[in-house]
Symmetry: C2
Subunit: 327 residues, 2 copies
Amino acid sequence: MSQAPEYDVVGVGNALVDVIAHADDHFIEHHELVKGSMTLVDTDRALYLYRALGTAVEMSGGSAANTMCGVASLGGRAAYLGKVSDDELGNVFGHDLRAVGVQFRPGAPEADTPTGRCIIVVTPDAQRTMNTYLGVSSLLQPTDIDEATVAAGKVLYMEGYLYDRPAAKEAFRHAAAVAHAHDRQVSLTLSDSFCVDRHRADFRRLVTDQVDILFGNEDELRSLYEVETLAEAIAAVRNDCHLAVVTMGAQGCAVISRSEVVTVAAEPVDQVLDTTGAGDLFAAGFLFGYTRERPLAECAKLGAIAAAEVISHVGPRPLVALKSLLP
Amino acid sequence: MSQAPEYDVVGVGNALVDVIAHADDHFIEHHELVKGSMTLVDTDRALYLYRALGTAVEMSGGSAANTMCGVASLGGRAAYLGKVSDDELGNVFGHDLRAVGVQFRPGAPEADTPTGRCIIVVTPDAQRTMNTYLGVSSLLQPTDIDEATVAAGKVLYMEGYLYDRPAAKEAFRHAAAVAHAHDRQVSLTLSDSFCVDRHRADFRRLVTDQVDILFGNEDELRSLYEVETLAEAIAAVRNDCHLAVVTMGAQGCAVISRSEVVTVAAEPVDQVLDTTGAGDLFAAGFLFGYTRERPLAECAKLGAIAAAEVISHVGPRPLVALKSLLP
C-alpha cells in the first residue's frame, strides 16, 4: 500500500536554459533551420548559431521543467528531476525552479560538461525554432532518478525528448516502472513530430505498455500512427492508452478516452508573441485539474488558460501566478 | 590633427548582466531596499537576494553598455570598454554587444572574479530597484582603456557608477584625458542620486573641468548642487559645462546650454512596464542626434523615442531596431 502522494506531478526531462532571440524568416532559411521544430546540435553548431543571432535573453526552460513550474504556479505541488552543472546557467535553472516552489532533484553531479541550453529563434509569426545543445542534461541515467520522489507523485510526467539519449531513455523507463510499482500514473509528452519520427516504434510500444496519459499535438499524433487525418489518429490512440490529450493550437484541444472525445476551445489571446512553452503549460493546467479529479473538460480548460498566458509574452514560463487566472 | 572619427560614441562603464525579477512592495520593504536606487552589494548579499527572488530573466545590461546598444540600434557607430570574465555571463554580455554591432574592448583578462551582475527588482509601478554585485567589472583600470578606441570616438560617454571604485575612477579620468587630447568631447551620466551623494565633490570638479555634456535626472542634478529646485540646479549647471541634459520622466526633458534651455515632451507610451534603461536609452538617442549635428530639440526628441521603446517592455535594451522608429 502506497502512502498519500506528496506531489501532484513529478516531471523528468532535459534541464535546459533557453537563449531566446528574435529573427526573421531569412535567418531561418539562411541557416537551414526547420521552423517550429527542435533540432539537437553539437557545441560547434550551438556556438555558430549563437554568434549569428542578435540580442538574446536567457531564461530557464526545458519542456517538463516548464510544465512543473506551471503546476506550481497554479497552486499544485510539483517536483522535477533533471541534470544541470555547477555553472552559472545551472544555478539559474535551479533558482527558477525553487523560486516557484518546485522541488528540484538534480541527480549526481558530473564534471566538465556545462548546463544544457536551447537556442530559440522566435520569428515574427510567433513560431519558435529550437536548437538544443543538451550538455549535462543528456547524462541523465537511471541512478539519477530519485525513487522516493517518483513514488511520492500522483502523476509522473516525462518528455519524449529524453528518448534522444540511450542512458536517459533507460532513466525514463526506470522512472515509469517505479511510478507504476507505487500505483502512480505515467504521462508522456511526445515533444515534437521530428522526435516522434526518430523514435516511432519505441513510442508506440511505450504508449501501449507504460503510458496512462499521452500529450501531443495533431502533427505528433498523426506521425505516431503514420496516418493522414486526426480522426484516424484518434481511433488508433484510444485503443492504446487510458487518456490522450491532443492540442490543436488556436483550434483548442481534444481529450480522448475510451468512452468519449471531449473538445475544448482555446482561450482568446490579444496578441500571440511567442508560442514557446504553449504545449508545456497546457499540460500543466490539464494535470493540475486531473490530479484534483476535475471533469476532463475542466482539465482541458485549465490547460487552455495556462497556455494562453505563456503565448502572450516572450518566454516559456508564466509571468504571473497562474492561480490568479483561475475562473 | 586627429583623424576622422571611426565611432560616434565610445562608452565606458561597469559591464553587468541584469537578473530581472518582479516583486511587490512588500519584498522591497522586507529586504530593506530603497526603491528606484542602485545599491552596491557583496557576494553574500547578492546570493541572499537572488535566493529570495522569484523567477528571473537574465539579459545583458550595464548603463553605458545599454546606451551603446541604443546608439547602434539607431544606426550609429559605437564602441564599449568594460570588463567581463571568461564565464557564461561574460560570454552573454559580449555576444549581446556584438550582436547589435557594438565594438567591444573588454580590457585585460582577470582570473577568479566572475562577471558582474545587477539584480533588478521590478515593482508593479514599473520602478526598478537595483542591487549590483560588480564582480570583475570593478577591476577596470587605466591600462584597460584602449586609447585608440577612445581617440576614434566623437563623444566619450561614461557612467558616474565608475566612481565607486578607485581604479575605475582613474580609468575614467584617463579616458577623459585621452579624449580631450584628440579633440573629442566627454560626456558623463550622473547614474543615480545616491551615486551623486557618494561623490559630490569629485563630480562637481569633473563637471567643471572635464565634462562637455552632462546627463542626469532632476534628483541627480539637484543633489549635485545641493539645491531645492530644478531652476536653481539649471542656473548652476549652465555655468559649469557646455551642455546639460536633464530628464524628468513623464515630464520630458530640458537641454541646457549657456544660451538657452530647450524643453521637449516625453513620447507617449501605452503602458510603462519597466523603467530600467530609460535614462540609458535617452542618452543614446540624444547622442545619436548630437553626433549628427542635429538641433538640440531634435536630439532630445530622439532620446525620448528611444526611452519610450525601452520602458514599454521588460529589459534595459531595445527589442526592435530603433532606427525603424525614427520619424
